[in-house]
């Protein structure tokens, strides 16, 4: 995996971006992003709030005009012919953009009319999607009464009304409870199985792994890594042993013990008194680590084994945890606030 030039593809690319740049005043939200999504595949943009994910998606979906670089979606230039692009894409934002005062059916019917499907087709399509997204029972209720998961599904259904060949989803599961998140993943997997090209943004490594063929890691508006989910995983390593200690002395001691066990790949978080070590042996490594700690006279406050997260990706790639950049990306921030409000 490398940050350099992307590999040559033989398949046609549904989305291509070259050197995309977006600035807000002095702040560069997106600083030259290159990406391509081959037809029928899924690309995940992985990064923390403020990394520039949303801004990138907004440029690709014609909501924002880039300050530099070019992009084509389904072969159409996003700056030269935005309406033609809009005909070929579906977009679902970070917060569910559904009209709360309309019913689920009315929401989808409206979107269909605005895609110019015609009255009859719009209604049929609305019913079909409500069925597909398990919203038939709620079809005639105003969206205000929907749960967070239902709103997200309705919003996603809105993006699919015109059966677009290319779909953009900005953090499709942020703010959802684990069960709704799983439902959403199943829906998305099924959709991708039918050949839709998908570009999604996420803060969850697990989500990127589960859904995406390729992952791009983005930080401060730049691509810092790209590759398949497997390549990224190889680089980031497997599971993590995480140990929390009672004192700074024990913290130093535990760090030494774990370094002896796994080699270099150990991260210490001073304030939390936490040591994290990347391991390949699963529970056997955990048992070994605990017995070595015990032999050194250390009883951790907490110890466990977990899957790698986006933070681990950032620690491995940049040597520091993923930061939320306050004010660095007006859009991401604005949207994050909105999401919080929506769930408050």
């Amino acid at each position: 995996m490398s940050v350099g030039a992307p590999t040559v593809r033989t398949m046609a690319d549904a989305v291509v971006a070259r050197g995309l740049v977006k600035r807000y005043g002095d702040v560069t939200a997106v600083a030259g992003v290159d990406l391509e999504v081959p037809e029928g595949t899924v690309l995940a943009l992985l990064g923390p709030n403020g990394a520039g994910k949303t801004t990138t998606v907004r440029m690709l979906t014609t909501l924002l005009v880039p300050d530099g670089g070019t992009a084509t979606v389904a072969g159409v230039d996003v700056v030269a012919d935005p309406r033609e692009v809009r005909r070929r894409i579906g977009l679902s934002g970070q917060y569910a953009a559904v009209d709360e005062n309309l019913t689920g059916f009315e929401n989808l019917d409206m979107v269909g009319r605005l895609y110019h499907l015609g009255r009859k087709k719009s209604r049929e399509r609305a019913r079909e999607l409500l069925e597909q997204f398990a919203l038939t029972d709620a079809a005639d209720r105003v969206a205000k009464t929907y749960s967070g998961g239902m709103r997200r599904r309705l919003d996603l259904a809105g993006a699919l009304v015109a059966d677009p060949p290319v779909l953009f989803l900005d953090e499709p599961t942020t703010g959802l409870d684990p069960r709704s998140r799983n439902d959403m993943w199943e829906l998305l997997s099924a959709m991708v199985g039918r050949g839709t090209t998908l570009l999604l943004t996420t803060q969850y490594l697990e989500e990127a792994e589960r859904l995406a063929d390729d992952i791009i890691v983005i930080d401060h508006g730049r691509v810092i890594a790209r590759g398949t989910a497997d390549e990224l995983k190889t680089q980031v390593g497997g599971q993590r042993i995480e140990v929390v200690l009672a004192s700074d002395r024990e913290l130093r001691e535990a760090e030494r013990v774990l370094r002896d066990l796994v080699g270099r790949d150990v991260v210490v978080q001073q304030r939390a008194r936490r040591v994290t070590a990347s391991v390949s042996g699963g529970t056997a490594d955990l048992v070994e680590a605990l017995s070595r700690l015990a032999a050194a006279g250390i009883v951790p406050l907490d110890a466990g084994l977990r899957r790698p997260t986006m933070d681990d990706v950032f620690l491995t790639l940049t040597g520091r945890p993923a930061e939320e950049v306050a004010g660095a990306d007006a859009d991401d921030d604005r949207d994050a606030t909105r999401t919080q409000e929506a769930h408050a």
Binding site: T61, T62, L63, L64, V65, R83, E84, R86, R87, I89, G90, L91, G93, Y95, A96, A97, D99, E100, N101, L102, E106, M110, V111, R113, L114, Y115, H116, V142, G158, A330, D331, R334, D335, R338
Partner: protein, 266 residues
């Protein structure tokens, strides 16, 4: 689809959505109506005794003024609706659709006209109850109502611009409250302007709300005989009001459209 056809079709979809909203949250309409009904009652029965307009029952003088103020407030729904849509990300959804983008504003302002028709019907009924009467022909009266609705339509475009600038419905509502009250009060609306201090009187006599109210009174036959003709705008109330409508539309349709594109592209 031709582009004008597309604008009209998409606008009607947007307008329908806004009308459904008013149906679902009747508070919106009730909110627009409560204060004018209260004003009619307060002015007619509380202040009315102290405001003497020679030659006419004060209530008859008052009601066209309340009509004007009410439809102007009715026009603010455009602004708060757009601010709300910006805040909730609905505008982003519209922007990602291959629709005529101008339809968002055209449909929005058009739905305010429909709301205002409802408002006028209810206000007319209230007016009739307190003793207001139309003393002219049907046609004259119709011209009066059309003028009120057209003026409010033009004001909708000012409100669209403001709503897109402030971006939250709360801020927008505060803003309109503190601007619309003075504009509608420093006018011929509730009391004859000849008793105003000189500066206010000049402002009032050139205020388009005054000419709108004057035009409405003329068209409904509520202007008392021998009422002071006043300034040039008031002597030519109908053309002066039409001129304002044209100027507001010419200035604010492009400004609001530009702001929509900008606001959505942030």
């Amino acid at each position: 689809m031709s582009s004008i056809g597309m604008v009209l079709a998409d606008s009607s979809v947007i307008a329908k959505r806004n009308i459904i909203k008013i149906k679902r949250i009747p508070d919106l309409l009730v909110g627009t109506l409560i204060s004018p009904i209260m004003f009619i009652l307060l002015f007619a029965y509380v202040f009315g005794g102290s405001i003497a307009v020679p030659g006419v029952d004060y209530k008859e003088f008052l009601v066209p003024g309340i009509f004007a103020q009410t439809v102007i407030f009715g026009a603010t729904i455009t602004g708060s609706g757009l601010a709300d849509d910006m805040q909730k990300g609905i505008i982003d959804r519209f922007r990602s659709l291959p629709m005529a983008q101008s339809a968002v504003l055209v449909g929005r302002t058009a739905s305010d006209v429909i709301t205002n028709v409802l408002v006028v019907i209810i206000m007319v009924s209230t007016g009739l109850v307190v003793g207001w009467r139309i003393r002219t022909s049907f046609l004259d009266a119709a011209v009066g109502f059309v003028l009120l609705l057209l003026f409010a339509y033009a004001v909708s475009w000012i409100m669209a611009l403001l709503g897109l600038i402030v971006r939250t419905p709360e801020a927008f509502n505060n803003l309109t409250f503190i601007t619309i009250f003075p504009i509608t009060f420093v006018a011929d609306t509730f009391a004859p302007t000849q008793n105003f201090p000189a500066v206010l009187r000049t402002i009032a006599e050139w205020n388009p709300v005054s000419s709108l109210v004057r035009a409405a009174r003329e068209q409904f036959g509520n202007l008392p005989p021998g009422y002071p003709a006043g300034s040039w705008p008031l002597q030519h109330a109908v053309p002066y009001t039409l001129l304002w409508i044209a100027v507001i539309l010419l200035v604010f349709v492009p400004l609001a459209t530009r702001q929509y594109k900008r606001a959505a592209a942030r």
